[in-house]
């Protein structure tokens, strides 16, 4: 009889299912990327490798506009949400419970609890009326909406970091004659920086990825890259959409990878 060690961690078949799952997770992405190099005019055929759809997407002015709009929007939303989330995190951590604290937690996390489509149509109702009243239909609405749903994501890592931070460091600074602002500037903020970067990146990715809320809030001619793609998917698609998706995908993977390494480098 073979004396194979009895592995208490093993469960029969689990490894197989796991590997199958990983395969299934990456197969569609691989297919998407593969078809973006398709030389054919349509997705129905495969005519060999080519970069023509990447070039075509690059030269497509609508895609250019949408990409720039997506980035501008994501930068604004991520920056604003990170700033206000940092403030909120400072206000809700390292304190004995005070009246309204639980309320604040619930409030800040609310955008995570409501289905996006519901928030989207609610914003449509309110903003469409405001657009009529004020006559303003710029990017501001999208910035505001994106900032709101990015706040809980930016808040998460910052709060976690603050909770692990020793208040004694700030007390030491105060003991050494630093006023509250300088304590914040020279002690709290530097210690908090990795979490703020993480929060910003999370918010950035979340904003960049959003399609539902943007679709309902945007005014005419305000397509972002995701809403542009959603519109394209309704039609007979060409591999150009694959090329755009592939580039988008590469950008996301890059961001996540950077995030992964920034987050792992713990002091």
């Amino acid at each position: 009889m073979a004396k194979r060690p009895f592995d208490i961690r093993a469960q029969p078949g689990f490894g197989f299912v796991a590997l199958l799952t990983f395969f299934a997770l990456y197969l569609p992405i691989a297919a998407l990327v593969a078809y973006s190099f398709n030389a054919a005019d349509s997705l129905s055929r495969w005519d060999g490798l080519s970069l023509r759809w990447f070039i075509s997407a690059w030269q497509n002015s609508t895609v250019q506009d949408a990409s720039i709009r997506s980035l501008v929007l994501a930068v604004w939303a991520a920056a604003l949400s990170t700033v206000v989330a940092t403030m909120a995190a400072l206000a809700t951590t390292r304190t004995p419970p005070y009246p309204g604290l639980t309320f604040k937690y619930a409030f800040i996390n609310q955008p995570l609890m409501v289905p996006e489509i519901v928030t989207a149509v609610a914003l449509l109702i309110v903003f469409s009326r405001i657009k009529v009243w004020t006559g303003y239909s710029g990017l501001g609405y999208l910035v505001l909406a994106h900032t709101a749903f990015c706040i809980p994501f930016a808040y998460l890592p910052i709060r976690a970091r603050l909770e692990g931070m020793d208040l004694k460091l700030e007390q030491a600074a105060a003991d050494l004659y630093a006023n509250p602002w300088r304590t914040f500037r020279h002690v709290t903020l530097p210690l908090l920086r990795p979490a703020i970067i993480a929060g910003f990146m999370l918010a950035f990715v979340i904003s960049l990825d959003d399609v539902v809320i943007t679709e309902f809030v945007k005014s005419g001619g305000q397509d972002t890259l995701p809403t542009y793609m959603l519109g394209q998917l309704r039609r007979e698609t060409t591999p150009e959409i694959n090329a755009i998706a592939t580039v988008f995908l590469a950008l996301s993977v890059l961001l996540v990878t950077v995030f992964f390494f920034v987050n792992r480098r713990k002091p």
């Binding site: 009889m1 004396k3 060690p5 009895f6 208490i8």
Partner: protein, 367 residues
Amino acid sequence: MGWSVPDRNAIEIRGVRKVFGAGENAVVALDTVSVPIRENEFFTLLGPSGCGKTTLLRLIAGFDYPSAGEILLYGDDIAPLPPFKRPVNTVFQSYALFPHMTVAENIGFGLEMLDRPKAEVKARVAEMLKLVRMEQLANRRTSQISGGQQQRVALARALAPQPKVLLLDEPLSALDYKLRKDMQIELKRLQGETGITFIFVTHDQEEALTMSDRIAVMSAGKILQVGAPRDIYDRPAERFVADFIGESNFLKGEIAGTAGGRATVRLSSGAEIPASLPEGFSPSGAVTIVVRPEHAQLAAANGDASLSGTVENVVYLGTDTHFHLRLDDGSPFIVRRQNSRGGGEGLTQGSRARVLIGADAAQVLKD
């Protein structure tokens, strides 16, 4: 001792080796260990952490497999059996009580897994609760009881399926001193009442001496000596054993003659003293001998003496006093003397002292 220790072996470890890792990173955890463990005995594996005692226990339980050698349970090789088919139960160091079950559910778990009838499980659980005096807490969650109570539940859980051998992996190490003392007595009682073979792992020499029928002292993956507590303490065969258990004075000397398991050793002072030899060991030339501090006596000024030196320190410990001496050859030596009321005549720091080593006090070491 109120029970007999028959010669039948419950467990027999034969040439067991265990190597973790491979190639350059290989670590030998057990280096060809052989030892029989008798039925109904309280057998202790004693040694410092990393000596391989827990590894040996895990091999018996079936959580690891030996790299070589075999483990027999009542004569049968249990190597092919996974842990859940071995009639052996473990009391884990951390207790490993299931947090999602009550005390009674924990105790009944093993019997339930053995598909015993519900009524039997219930009766046995009640019996076990009574045995460990936990009847009132049967329906508590294991997180709601104290450390000592968790310890009892862990014991009851392991005893409930009536294993042929009970393995205990440092089960008392998490308890505070007082509770540990109580549990030592409790464990001894349980072993007597159940008549199950206990294999107990500890790094605490006092625990080992108090509870065991026999002790195996382990170091660096090897068993150095097996014997009754008294043998181990009075007749340590190796320096490590003497050092690990109790306090020891080590003296250098030379064999002047051997006869019938005993030797005469000439010390550097020129004095010759009688010493016992480890079994089957007949040395010649330079040897080290060990003398327990309480086995040496301070000699009267004009009486016989084996050694002499200067008192460096006198430590009063209530029941007895330790005299720290510096012998004339420069080596340290401690003499322990029991205190009596009104005693304590004039040895103080700096005084000269003479030491007498009695006929049965010295033991020759193998290394």
